[in-house]
């Protein structure tokens, strides 16, 4: 299958040659996103330079009834940008201008292809920054962040993308331009702005984003705390929150992740610890002073084996280094790893980590845990070797079991990476048929023809029926030993 000639011809008339990619070698980089196990050569790649071109492309797709998949920087981790063999891959990387910086209103208006970090870089001269910082922030684009409602290390205090986007311009497949929100707060009417965040390119194409900027905190300090057991570390997370402190970031790493990070970058982490917490506190000097003292006292009372506080920006950056390099560091332990993204209520951290350990034994695959403990967002990394027969399959099955576990304790299958194609099956376990049908009707309100990113994010009922046995096997619910609510 490939793109039909009539569609290609029409695209050639509306786009200059440098905006159209048809050569298979040139199309190759677009066959996958950050979920590299999923590959599909696109029918054609279009790289518009103007919003007018985006609108013209959508018109062609609508009239030719050709599917269109929108792509940002291609760093997504759930296959949300997997192309269609007979479709158009709409890359927005050339729409990369910062249109306006308004320091008095603390906003920036940018095109969707602007890189996340480029926004903070551009506004640093005003003492401002853009808060959400997914780990791919050096490469990922703001349009992609909106599509996935991306998070990062600082969500607990500063929120996800949806909390930091004030306005969007969205093009629908039917040719309408929706201007949602803007420089003001809380417009009357349905909150389509919130709805677009995390909609995975299923409802429209974002062509402009107004982001909220925050003053750079006067001080940031990092407290590193080591524990002799995972449970003790998990318990400490809840105690920090309960004590009335909302840390800017609260991360956890287990022994395998600590060892890998140490071997990779030598951040000075205690390698004899079963787990470490990294607790970042920010604010004015006096506030951070107060909170640092409070956290240190609390951690000592919870029998931490080691408590260190950064005394300079350089030391703080060094202490963060091991966490920031954790994924590539774990990547050195095995040829491949599979990154999960479930979120659970914090109180269940200890038992869920134990259950993951058990699954690791059952599937004979090692797991390293690096995650956003403060908001309960787990990133178990399942280590495997794609060249060893059966290992990828085992890793995927084990991943599915971990997500079932997250749902069983009252959590969710994805905290920040999205469903894409990767977690379609797990969606069947989290939502009822009526809920999935409601999602499909919502999608149809924006895209009745079903041409935008077809087959992603929400599984069909037929698919769920087929795999039904995965979740309720002969009437037996997964993880019957766990209390449900």
């Amino acid at each position: 299958m490939s793109i039909d000639p009539a569609t290609l011809k029409r695209l050639q008339t509306i786009l200059p040659p440098n905006c159209l990619v048809t050569d298979p070698r040139a199309k190759k980089p677009f066959e996958t996103d950050g979920l590299t196990a999923v590959k599909q050569m696109p029918g054609v790649v279009v790289l518009p330079e103007t919003v007018e071109q985006v609108r013209a492309i959508l018109r062609v797709c609508r009239e030719q009834r050709v599917p269109v998949v929108t792509r940002g920087a291609g760093t997504g981790l759930s296959g949300g940008a997997r192309p269609q063999a007979d479709g158009v891959l709409l890359g927005l990387s050339k729409l990369s201008r910062i249109l306006e910086i308004d320091p008095d209103n603390r906003i920036a208006r940018v095109e969707p292809g602007v890189r996340n970090l480029a926004i903070s870089d551009a506004v640093a001269q005003y003492g401002l920054y853009y808060a959400p910082d997914p780990s791919s922030q050096i490469a990922c684009s703001i349009g992609g962040n909106v599509a996935e409602n991306s998070g990062g290390v600082h969500c607990l205090k500063y929120g996800l993308t949806v909390h930091n986007v004030l306005g969007l311009t969205v093009q629908t497949l039917e040719g309408d331009e929706l201007v949602l929100g803007g420089a003001t707060l809380d417009s009357p009417g349905y909150d389509l702005l919130a709805l677009m965040n995390g909609s995975e390119g299923m409802l429209g194409v974002v062509t402009e984003v107004t982001v909220r900027l925050l003053p750079v905190p006067a001080t940031k300090r990092l407290v590193l705390v080591a524990f002799a057991s995972l449970e003790a570390a998990a318990n400490a997370v809840g105690r920090i929150i309960a004590s009335g402190i909302v840390p800017a970031g609260l991360e956890m790493m287990d022994a395998r992740a600590i060892a890998a990070a140490e071997a990779f970058v030598g951040a000075g982490y205690p390698t004899d610890a079963a787990a470490i917490l990294l607790c970042e506190l920010d604010g004015t000097h006096d506030e951070v002073d107060d909170q640092c003292g409070q956290v240190q006292r609390l951690m000592k009372s919870l029998r931490a084996t080691d408590v260190r506080v950064s005394s300079s920006d350089a030391e703080r950056d060094r202490m963060w280094l091991g966490r920031k390099a954790a994924f590539p560091a774990v990547g050195r332990l095995a040829p491949d790893y599979y990154c999960m993204d479930g979120t659970i209520p914090r109180a269940r951290l200890g038992e869920v980590l134990r259950a993951i350990e058990k699954l690791s034994g059952e599937f004979e695959l090692a797991v390293a845990n690096v995650f956003h403990a403060g908001d309960g967002n787990l990133h178990p990394l399942i280590l495997y070797d794609a060249n060893a027969p059966g290992q990828l399959d085992r890793a995927e099955k084990m991943g599915g079991r971990i997500l079932d576990l997250c749902v069983a304790v009252g959590g969710t299958i994805t905290g920040e990476h999205g469903v894409g194609v990767e977690k379609l099956d797990s969606m069947c376990g989290q939502f009822s048929a009526a809920e999935l049908e409601q999602f499909h009707r919502l999608k149809a309100a924006f895209d009745p023809a079903g041409l935008m990113n077809p087959g992603k994010a929400i599984p069909t009922l037929a698919r769920c029926a087929e795999i039904g046995g995965m979740h309720v096997h002969r009437g037996v619910v997964a993880f019957p030993e766990l209390e449900r609510f």
């Binding site: 308004d102 008095d104 209103n105 003492g127 996935e148 629908t172 929706l178 949602l180 420089a183 003001t184 707060l185 417009s187 009357p188 009417g189 349905y190 909150d191 389509l192 919130a194 709805l195 995390g198 909609s199 409802l203 003053p215 105690r239 309960a242 009335g244 402190i245 909302v246 004015t284 006096d286 506030e287 107060d290 209520p345 914090r346 109180a347 908001d375 309960g376 967002n377 009252g410 959590g411 969710t412 299958i413 994805t414 905290g415 999205g418 469903v419 977690k423 969606m427 939502f431 009822s432 009526a434 809920e435 409601q438 999602f439 919502l442 999608k443 149809a444 309100a445 924006f446 609510f485």
Partner: protein
Amino acid sequence: MARDRDDSERVIAAVGEALAADAPLAICGRGSKAFLAGDSGGAMLAIGDHSGVIDYRHDELVMTARAGTPLVELRRLLSAQQQTMAFDPPTFAGDGSLGGAVAAGLSGPGRPWYGALRDAVLGVTIVNGLGERLRFGGSVMKNVAGYDVSRLMVGALGTLGVLLDVSVKVLPLPRAEATCVFELDREAALARVVEWARTPLPLSATCHVDGRLRVRLSGTEKGIRAAAAQIGGEQLPHAAKFWDSLRDQTHRYFDGARPLRVALPSASAFPDVPGEWLTEWGGAQRWLKTEVPAAEVDAAARRLGGRATAFGGRSNGYQPLDEGALKYYRRLKHAFDPHAILNRGRLFAEIGREERARTA
């Protein structure tokens, strides 16, 4: 405490019966915001008895409660654990339910710094217009599975579903607060606030009215002492009373005819309209008492990148509709409530009537 009572079966049955009889329902929580929403006709579906806290753990920062639970009781429960709904929903006439707060989508004086009510909503259970009980979102901070239907319910005035329960993020109460007062005219006050908002001060609310600017600082004791010393001004005693009166519109500025709500970019100049202003949210929300018609104020606000809307009171309210979005509003209404059973004609009058004509 509120009665702990699960009335959801009755609510689901009521929607089913209304659907079968093609008789619309007007959803009512505690009725404290009836003045805002306009008339929707139909038989009253009371959810005030569907109340009680389903789950609250202070170390999770999440609370799940039934929609009819009174806000004042939730406030009491949370403050006993030194926590708060930081979006601080108005309790007009001292009342209001959690479901009503979500349906109206209103937030208090701290909104620019703590986030809006919609920011804190993590999950909902609803009954849609087909009488189906549906759960979206969850009780965890981060959740991107499926479309964000939970936040779509915020401000939808019950037109997309009857809320059964809601999970919201709560926050620790600040350990210390101070409110500093400055004698300034409204332009000078705005300039001051805009300048401070660009710096990392622990601001949590601002309000200018009657020639006085009040600035609230929230944080740790040492942090607030230092910040208050830095910005200066007189300290306001019993400041919580003032901020509550602003939130609940019991401050004397709100006596008499209800002012227009003018949403503007926070640093924007004031629209050139005669009247009496109250400025809050760092400049992003301003209230105007004026004789000038709402449509004219709106036109002036739009020239500055803002909007003016009536906040109840005037006949049916002035809620100018965004033409581009209307088509999608209608379709969303249809996707959730195809027979326009729920709060028919509310929010945007056109939706209920036209959907009904189409599906009849």
